[in-house]
Symmetry: C2
Subunit: 462 residues, 2 copies
């Protein structure tokens, strides 16, 4: 191993091969602190050529690679195992802006830029890069691509997959796949870049991408509304789309339990508590005042429990902060068994009723904290208080998951809507994924990485 | 072969195995009449189960399959060879509407419905299925998926790939891949369905799909405008997007040569002839009058050669008919060497200048008929009059293609934007595609179809 570290240092520079535990520790633990690994070292290559040379060296030496971006995976997707034999390759030094082309609505950047930096680059050119999520200040574009990240504006703009025009990937054999074209239409062969989006680094290292940009909205209207049921909420979704078309950008659903948690931990912040709350945002070209007026008029015709419109940018920020405070508020309230599920939006009310009932039957007194991106069917569905002793919560995790994922599957849903599979959900993927799809995934892994050196121990491992 | 035909008849019914040349001939020739094949027979299975049984039988007997939908490929992608040993499998009997779910904005249909039928189903539920192209009355959804079809509204809604939530595919070994979920977010494993979109039937037969629906626009504004240059046209594209955001649905560019052709063959129809013409359409929720007023106001502030706004639905239809008449008008004017290219929209003006200049240098007197979906970078770029004797035009095809594709490549473009590769462009794909991408495509073909029985003789053939 000493020899390998010397060779690595010769390739990418000795200061870019971290071996001191104080330096490697932040790269050895996942964001939630659930997985603790011990890497051989952390390599910080500075260019695609260095990544390719490093991968070729590791292939020759049989060294496994764990690709890492901002290390914000919630499923342990970027954490090495405890063997001390896996090399973490962190891409934060790949920071070139290769090309900003506003007239093509495209931006080509390297993998190490943070999502917030990419948003800022787009905005500087009068354009929008619409991917938006809680960790945007630290997550990196390479990680967003590798997990097919979602977030708050998928309803209107799609996930990272739909926001990607081109990719550059270092394959497990050290070859560089150049699929970096900035084209809206391209039927010249299989769209092989799709394989690497959402592969969580198991098929190669994404080093650069050409991303789609959009016109920058100039008007926004934001409301926090209370409705009587999830069924009403989903009826609103269709009605809002009919009335406002693509302007509907965000449609977040927050349960009463969540609102009470917010009210408890942030007293005086919440405008009201309702059976269900919605955070609705419209965006458009043109003037904010006109858009707000249209939303006010529309809301005045609806049956609702209560509602407030943001009257200024600071009020808008305050409503968004309530939504964004949900994760941290929950954390303060104690541990929970977390799920990142998706169902067809039309199925949300029935899923909430029937899965909730099944959990209550199995665990009387259970608490369900449900909130999320109802506009795209993605709910964060977190379970606690399965028994009086909170310390024993995680003993019930397999039984809770079995109920939740069974109902997700019955409603045609997914057990991993936007966080990926990582190490956390591998057994469930094997249980619920179509067998032909699973076999094809494994075949592709075998084709690209026959020695299993790319992010081993995750869900594509043989 | 007799034995196989008997077995096929037993599987799918004797009336659904066509062998009489009068019945098979329409399936043996491509839409442009460039490729003439001779199939063993034409099979018309009626369900996914029948397709799977048929594929398994052909695999056991070593019989090659040519999948076919509406047979509107412009590249010979659905035409058998002349050996008399390939079985055409036409999916027009797979016509079930599996599920229409307006509250999820999704529609699950089998592969044999025409695009127009799918559009009508969506509209009947108050939704839009936005894919729109010239052959929509006869092309089938399975073919649209297999070619990743594009057309007139990609600027706003994306290609068939972006309009697809789920797929069902019969794999070359007869297994059915079930990836039919109607989810906006799904990170549960590799998105294997992406492989089959745009594969032109070389990796299996698509039997059903879950498609994205959108709110149905209630307002439209349509204008035909003349501008002084392609550079002005592309500047308008960004300005229109800044002013109207997602409302900009169509942005078609038509050269002066095209306008003169229209004027010659359809006298009195064209409002004017300008250096370049644009067909612009906005669509939105709300009222048509308000949208038209905004477009009129915007246009009144621009420098333009001339312009007309459609004042009624019949005037709108008339403008669209001019655009749609371009292919047929060109045909009446004699043969041409056709290209379906794409470049970044920002590169359109420079491409037109430089490629045009290179062609004129090589072929003085050449005529270039350029028009297309400038909003997404896709141009139909057709070349004729390379020499005085029009009968010798196709002798120049290799030299013309070499010039056109070289310039396309220099501008980061594609030689197949929306028509696929088929039989027509295989050598060019091999020349210009990234070698690592090409090797990966071939590896995937080998993985899924090791005996090469799915649509052989096209671009993935070993």
């Amino acid at each position: 191993m000493e020899q390998l570290l010397h060779e690595l240092a010769a390739l990418i520079g000795p200061t870019h091969v971290l071996t001191d535990p104080a330096d490697t520790e932040p790269h050895a633990v996942d964001w939630r602190g659930r997985y603790h690994g011990r890497p051989l070292a952390v390599a910080l290559p500075g260019s695609t050529a260095e990544v390719a040379a490093l991968v070729a060296l590791c292939r020759d030496r049989g060294i496994a690679i764990v690709p890492q971006g901002g290390n914000t995976s919630t499923c342990g997707g970027a954490t090495p195992d405890g063997s001390g034999r896996q090399l973490v390759v962190n891409l934060r030094r790949l920071r070139a802006v290769r090309r900003l082309d506003p007239d093509n609505n495209s931006l080509t950047v390297e993998a190490g830029l943070t999502l917030a930096e990419v948003q800022a680059l787009a905005e500087g050119a009068g354009r929008l890069f619409p991917l938006s999520l809680a960790s945007e200040g630290s997550c990196q574009i390479g990680g967003n691509l590798s997990t097919n990240a979602g977030g708050l504006a998928v309803l209107r703009y799609g996930t990272m997959r739909e926001l990607t025009l081109g990719l550059e990937v270092v394959l497990p054999d050290g070859q560089v796949l150049d699929a970096l074209r900035g084209l809206r239409k391209d039927t010249s062969g299989l769209d092989v870049k799709q394989l690497f989006i959402g592969a969580e680094g198991q098929l190669g290292l994404i080093t650069a991408a050409t991303l789609k940009l959009f016109p920058l909205p100039t008007a926004r209207a934001t409301a926090w509304v209370g409705v009587d049921s999830a069924r009403t909420a989903i009826a609103w979704l269709a009605a809002l789309q009919a009335a406002f078309g693509d302007r509907l950008t965000t449609f977040e659903l927050i349960s009463e339990v969540c609102q009470k948690l917010l009210d408890h931990h942030h007293p005086g912040q919440l405008p009201f508590v309702a059976p269900w709350a919605l955070l609705i945002e419209l965006s458009d070209s043109g003037e904010t005042a006109a858009l707000e007026e249209r939303l006010v008029n529309w809301l005045s015709e609806q049956a609702m429990v209560d509602g407030v419109m943001a009257q200024s940018e600071s009020e808008r920020q305050r409503l968004w902060q309530l939504r964004e405070a949900l994760s941290e508020t929950q954390k303060r309230d104690g541990p929970s068994i977390k799920h990142d599920i998706g169902v067809p939006t039309s199925m949300i009310p029935a899923f909430l009723e029937q899965c909730g009932q099944a959990l209550k039957t199995a665990f009387p007194g259970v608490r369900i904290v449900a909130f999320g991106h109802a506009g795209d069917g993605n709910l964060h569905y977190n379970v606690s208080r399965t028994r009086p002793d909170p310390a024993a919560l995680f003993d019930d995790e397999p039984a809770v998951n079995a109920i939740v994922y069974e109902w997700v599957d019955r409603f045609g849903g997914t057990l991993a809507a936007e966080h990926g599979v990582g190490q956390l959900k591998t057994p469930w993927l094997e249980r619920y994924k179509d067998p032909a799809a699973l076999a094809l995934m494994r075949g592709i892994k075998q084709l690209l990485d026959p020695r299993g050196l790319m992010n081993p121990g995750k869900w594509l491992a043989p």
